[in-house]
Symmetry: C2
Subunit: 452 residues, 2 copies
Amino acid sequence: MNEGMKQRDHVVIIGSGFGGLFATKALKDAPVDVTVIAKTNHHLFQPLLYQVATGILSEGAIAPPTREILRGQRNAQVRLGEVIDIDIESRTVTSWTPRGTQETPYDSLIVAAGSSASYFGHDHFAEHAPGMKSLDDALELRGRILSAFEFAEIETEADARASWLTFVVVGAGPTGVEMAGQIAELAHRTLRKDYRRIDPQQARVVLLEGAPTVLGTFGEHLAAKATKKLEQLGVEVQLGAVVVDIDEYGIDVKDSDGSTRRIASRTKVWAAGVASSPLAKHLANQAGLQVDRAGRVPVEDDCSLPGFPEVFVIGDMMEAGVPGVAQVAMQSGKHAAKVIAARAAGRDLPEPFKYVDKGSMATISRFAAVASVGRFRFSGFIAWLFWLVIHLLYLIGFKQRVTTLLHWTISFIGRGRAERAITRQQVVARRALNTLTPDQSGRPDRLRFPRR
Amino acid sequence: MNEGMKQRDHVVIIGSGFGGLFATKALKDAPVDVTVIAKTNHHLFQPLLYQVATGILSEGAIAPPTREILRGQRNAQVRLGEVIDIDIESRTVTSWTPRGTQETPYDSLIVAAGSSASYFGHDHFAEHAPGMKSLDDALELRGRILSAFEFAEIETEADARASWLTFVVVGAGPTGVEMAGQIAELAHRTLRKDYRRIDPQQARVVLLEGAPTVLGTFGEHLAAKATKKLEQLGVEVQLGAVVVDIDEYGIDVKDSDGSTRRIASRTKVWAAGVASSPLAKHLANQAGLQVDRAGRVPVEDDCSLPGFPEVFVIGDMMEAGVPGVAQVAMQSGKHAAKVIAARAAGRDLPEPFKYVDKGSMATISRFAAVASVGRFRFSGFIAWLFWLVIHLLYLIGFKQRVTTLLHWTISFIGRGRAERAITRQQVVARRALNTLTPDQSGRPDRLRFPRR
């Protein structure tokens, strides 16, 4: 704030996920200028990512361009860039694209960079069991899953064929349950009559979970319902099963009785854990704080970084005793925006951030879901209808809603899937990308060496 | 044919494009078994590839799985594989996938492997100006085109920004005209209000053509109509302009007066020429024939390889005085199938192959197209409606027709485009794939050394 004419504050928001987007929108009428810096050009509707991975939806249906969403918000601009440095003393964000590095000063900062798959220290799992966090992940898994059936069809040796027809999903939270259910429906319904040498109905789908129940946060009743429905679909639910190792040909599992066994499988999906963006540790180091086991940084009750009231850390990146779900990201993003708006307007600050649990839900197959809202538990068709309406409402953009509804009609009423083309990028890209040295990709690697 | 019980002949068809697919379908009732071997899992509706490249359509809309199309044809099976060898003496096809090599014997063979972009000996153009022949090409171009606007938005230097906002399409046949028109509509209509620092309406779209006219095969009248419409859209049509060199930053052009100049442009599209699959030369070598300049092999008047009446070469691969268009592929594929079916059933052989020109058309923008059918010439809205109906009719699959119609509504009535998400694969994959050595990709390289 200068003497004389008051300058508008500049708010930088890192990330275009639920947190970043809802924070930006909540600043629409605030007397500030907002710059969103994100490493993708789109907002990703993560709850439906499994439908991209299993060929129901196209990328565009769940990933509208962020700048299109914010087209009408005149105080917001969007910039492509991967943030590689935040200097909270000089209040500067450094972002990188293949076309150069840029420094952006801020008055207030909202860090909403989210999380990525965590392999609990076993980083070599990543190559064999992609996570489910980005469009690239989903497209790669789509390519792997559909290719597996193609390779099974041309495989002449029985054991090898069986391993192509065995799909293992690690982790039975909502994403894992939804992936397992959809792979089963793909194999047993969509592909049923498409092959001549293999019978896709013989495909095994194994859902591995280290805990003693699926959907741990949904309670015993819904967990039992979900397990029953998954088994009806032909999914093998294996509980108390901890992954020991993963390689190209299979997965080693330790059961609760201490014995180990191997599942021969060429296609593995990782839905077992996430860790915060490394930006959380980068901030913690500068603020003299420790991150928790999931890499999250502790925050004040207004979601700000302790000692730095102009820096907010929200969603999956904050350690605040709340789950890593979309609702937390949305609500904490809005809260940070409210604090910034109140300060800019000289109004009273809002009450401390309090997460309001609006419930959770997971689909298992078409026409079957489980939902937990307040004290109520739904399952079956009613829960599925509820899931459908809520997801259509929360999807961003009219175009996306219409195309999604059409593709759901194709997949749930019919038995087809609109997106079954395998591209070479999907199949080869991950390996190719992994062979790029940091030098070839051009990306500086400053984040690995935080300055303090 | 054995004595005693007659065995059914085995027909192998290489390729799942228009030629391979129409040949397979035409063998539906013939007393033969058909194996389609293709290197993609999908049939590609190439005439709409430019709409995938410019964000109107998703991959699935123009690329249904080949095995889904042929699900109901009980005498046909589909196998993934890239054909790396054809031995026309022992009648064996060798195909390769990352999972192994397979040999397939045949009684009759239809080679319908199509064509790919030709850079007339300048292979280094490929990295900077992708062609428009596969889904991967289209997705890569989509990523490049949409990224160019993102990079322009963060670019601070005026010349560099201008080169990000300059798009050059090389070749003014139907594909080039359609690409140029759609890039112009994307920039000037869809993206108009999405940016804060750049004005997408300032984007330059340059259409380069070495010949003195666009759409050379359509005649003077329609060429003039198309040129006028392109210029109304803001496309700079540059005729008599021959490409001398292409690099990352621009393109060197030689004009008809002999002078050379440079266009600074970061995004180039190659729509200038195609060459037959190298399988044509492989066959020609074995049969003691010469391929023509486009790499095509001469055929008999029944589309068979001279000296090998059981081997048919069709579509873009055959030298038969016909253009390289979808109709030729369909008709020659059907013709080869008829010959095979007649022989298998012991019926009279059909008349020699004769291409029936059903006309040609190109869209320039929404509501504007040119079409040439027999002696008739259409342009404007009528031609566009005609284009729309014909393309919907020829699109394979009900799902594809419905989703395409929906996306056209979004793009032509509205001004949006449903597929604007940029993935990392699209932007980085080509460079990454190029760094793979043959050894890393695992693909044997026998085709480069034809055996005779």
